[in-house]
């Protein structure tokens, strides 16, 4: 099956007074139709910028300087803002960490939802649009949708607002949803509800989902494939089970070892020494070199290419030989 989204060697740089910040520096990944892919990384890894780049939401002083973003064959990076407008909210939708980035505080929910529908398809009548909005709210499990439609965002709790954002994202039945830390700001029990809704929705509507987060545990529970990013590059990507059970890249190993839980009580957590290098001043060679316990000479001179392994992964590390398995 053809992938619905293919990112090839994307580079998004920010040109600031202090220098060039290479937020995304050579990212390649694929998402199949109806697939849930987790994009994992810490702050500064470039994961959010990757999401914004796909949506064309990168503002000055940043811009996409290289690579392709092929959505069903069309290169989004080459589109003009007007052309991109036709895709955004229509074929590709985005959900943000803070639902108030989606919801306009002075508009009623129905106003905003109807507007979303009509702006992409002006032939729809207002009544039909209203009905679709109602259905969308029902889809995300919001009860008494008629009342809720007339309400303003401040009358909802955080979890409800996020569900409304998801409903808005689903309005035009997009092929792909990009979710940037959608549950990070929510309480544990509410997070469970929202993850459950999104899981169910994507299964029912066969919508592809790119779930961007720093929380490995969340993607471990719902993603089919996981991509791990570090300092603007994807260092490991592969099937969920393989990456979690037997990570190959030293960063992934370190990250998994850092997560506390009851199965590690009493032992010190694995620490990754040092800090993320400045994105304006990336070292030559592998970006992880100053924190890696497997570092060797070649790591400091050459940036590793993505190597395919036997179990369907791509890993950027000189310590992996092609055809290896964990």
């Amino acid at each position: 099956m053809d992938p619905i989204l293919q990112i090839k060697d994307l580079q998004t740089h920010f040109f600031t007074k202090a220098g060039v910040l290479k937020a995304v520096d050579g990212v390649s990944l694929e998402i199949g139709a109806g697939e849930i892919v987790g994009l994992v990384g810490e702050s500064g890894s470039g994961k959010s910028i990757t999401g914004f780049s796909i949506m064309g939401l990168v503002d000055a002083p940043g811009r996409i300087v290289g690579g392709q973003i092929l959505f069903k064959g069309q290169d989004l990076a080459k589109l003009s803002p007007a052309e991109m407008q036709a895709y955004r909210g229509n074929r590709i939708a985005m959900i943000f960490q803070d639902p108030m980035m989606t919801l306009n505080p002075v508009l009623r929910i129905e106003t905003q939802m109807v507007e979303t529908i009509l702006s992409h398809d002006s032939s729809v009548s207002k009544i039909d649009a209203h009905a679709r909005a109602r259905d969308a709210l029902g889809l995300v499990g919001i009860s008494s949708p008629d009342e809720r439609l007339r309400a303003y965002p401040h009358q909802f709790s955080g979890g409800m607002r996020q569900r409304v954002s998801i409903a808005i994202a689903m309005l035009n039945r997009p092929d792909l949803i990009i979710a940037d830390e959608p549950t990070t700001a929510l309480d544990v029990t509410i997070q469970g509800q929202v993850i459950h809704e999104m899981q169910r929705l994507c299964q029912e509507t066969k919508t592809a989902l790119l779930w961007i987060t720093h929380d490995l545990a969340v993607v471990a529970g719902i993603a089919e494939r996981i991509c791990v990013m570090y300092a603007g590059r994807v260092v490991e990507q592969g099937p969920n089970a393989n990456v979690i059970a037997a990570p190959m890249h030293p960063y992934t190993t370190g990250l998994l070892g850092s997560v506390p839980g009851q199965n590690r009580r009493g032992q010190p957590l694995q620490q990754i020494e040092g800090m993320v290098p400045s994105l304006m001043n990336l070292p030559t060679g592998c970006a992880f070199q100053n924190r890696c316990n497997l570092v060797s000479d070649i790591c400091t001179s050459t940036n590793p290419d993505a190597i395919s392994t036997k179990d369907g992964r791509l890993v950027r590390c000189h310590n992996i030989a092609a055809g290896d398995s964990a």
Binding site: I244, R265, P268
Partner: protein
């Protein structure tokens, strides 16, 4: 063994009192009431020396308010916090300094206008614990204790990363030789790999300096990793207290069970989430009786009417649930 810290019937209300207009309107027949939030509602527990007690709960549970009362920053509306001075190591420290707090936000917990050396040594000098001439040497020692390079003494907070700032905050607290530390979401704002460093640091410091912690967090994984005992709070009340093994393997209260079931786990393979229904109620108008009853699968009429008492259902295991009475 007597506890080091005892919290008895501690409560804290936040009241939004009526302004002039509302008072006048009330006289004219309207019925405006003061808005009261019972942020912490009759909480009692003890902490023994050398323990790490984890406090876990979601928004509105009152754990941060509780932490601030234990640290002495916020006065309680009723109840008290008592510290057993006889168990203190260091008798020349003023009592007010025995409990210190490590804060959540690395960006606002350090005074941006002060250098690190001043941040760390201000309190010891002010309370005459060290002489001004010892300032530099003392600061260097503190920085080394928390794993920071002593060359950074003269720097300002904005020149450090989030994790480093948290370390400075820890050094600041340790500088007054406290016995008890309240950690209020101290790692929540940090990246996962940095969290691991700070968690390890906390454990090392506890062993080296004989500290006792009250560790407040919403992150169940961290609580499970670090705590000896766990307190679970919901809407201002304690719903369950248990030793860590019991907490993980045999949670009693339905809320604790729901919490543990809903936490994302780093296990292999996808899982189907089965979340509990309903929103967390607003602290302004909590449900009657047991606060959890609207979301509880096992709720009965009694749960709606009567507030459950926190009772010991097994050694050191307390739970506030009417269902235990039936057993």
């Amino acid at each position: 063994m007597t506890p080091l810290l005892t919290v008895s019937n501690l409560s804290r209300d936040f009241v939004k009192s009526l302004d002039m207009v509302a008072k006048v309107l009330n006289r004219l027949g309207q019925n405006y009431r003061e808005e009261v939030v019972h942020a912490v509602d009759d909480v009692s527990f003890s902490v023994f020396k050398g323990e790490i007690v984890g406090v876990v709960g979601e928004s509105g549970c009152g754990k941060s308010t509780l932490g601030r009362m234990v640290a002495g920053i916020l006065p309680p509306t009723s109840g008290q916090v008592s510290f057993d001075v006889t168990q203190a190591k260091n008798t020349d420290i003023p009592d007010a300094l025995r409990t210190q707090m490590i804060f959540q936000d690395p960006f606002s917990s350090l005074n941006p206008r002060k250098r690190v050396i001043d941040i760390i040594t201000e309190a010891p000098i002010h309370h005459k614990l060290i002489a001004p001439s010892e300032k530099r040497a003392f600061a260097i020692e503190m920085l080394q204790r928390v794993g920071l390079d002593p060359d950074t003494l003269e720097r300002y907070p904005h020149q450090f990363s989030g994790g480093q700032r948290q370390r400075v905050g820890i050094a600041r607290a340790l500088a007054v030789s406290p016995e008890f530390l309240v950690c209020d979401e101290s790692i929540a704002a940090l990246d996962v790999s940095i969290q691991a460093q700070i968690i390890n640091l906390f454990v090392d410091l506890k062993d080296s300096y004989d500290l006792t912690y009250l560790f407040i967090s919403h992150d169940i994984g961290v609580i499970e990793h670090i705590s000896d005992r766990v307190i679970v709070m919901y809407l201002g009340r304690i719903v369950e207290t248990a030793p860590i093994e019991t907490f993980v393997k045999q949670p009693n209260h339905p809320y604790t069970q729901a919490l543990l079931a809903g936490v994302p786990r780093l296990e292999v393979g996808k899982r189907q989430y089965e979340p509990i229904s309903g929103e967390i109620p607003s602290p302004l108008s909590p449900p009657t009786g047991c606060h959890f009853h609207p979301r509880c699968k096992f709720a009965t009429a009694r749960c709606k009417a009567e507030k459950p008492a926190l009772r010991e259902i097994a050694p050191a295991h307390f739970s506030a649930c009417h269902l235990n009475d039936e057993a």
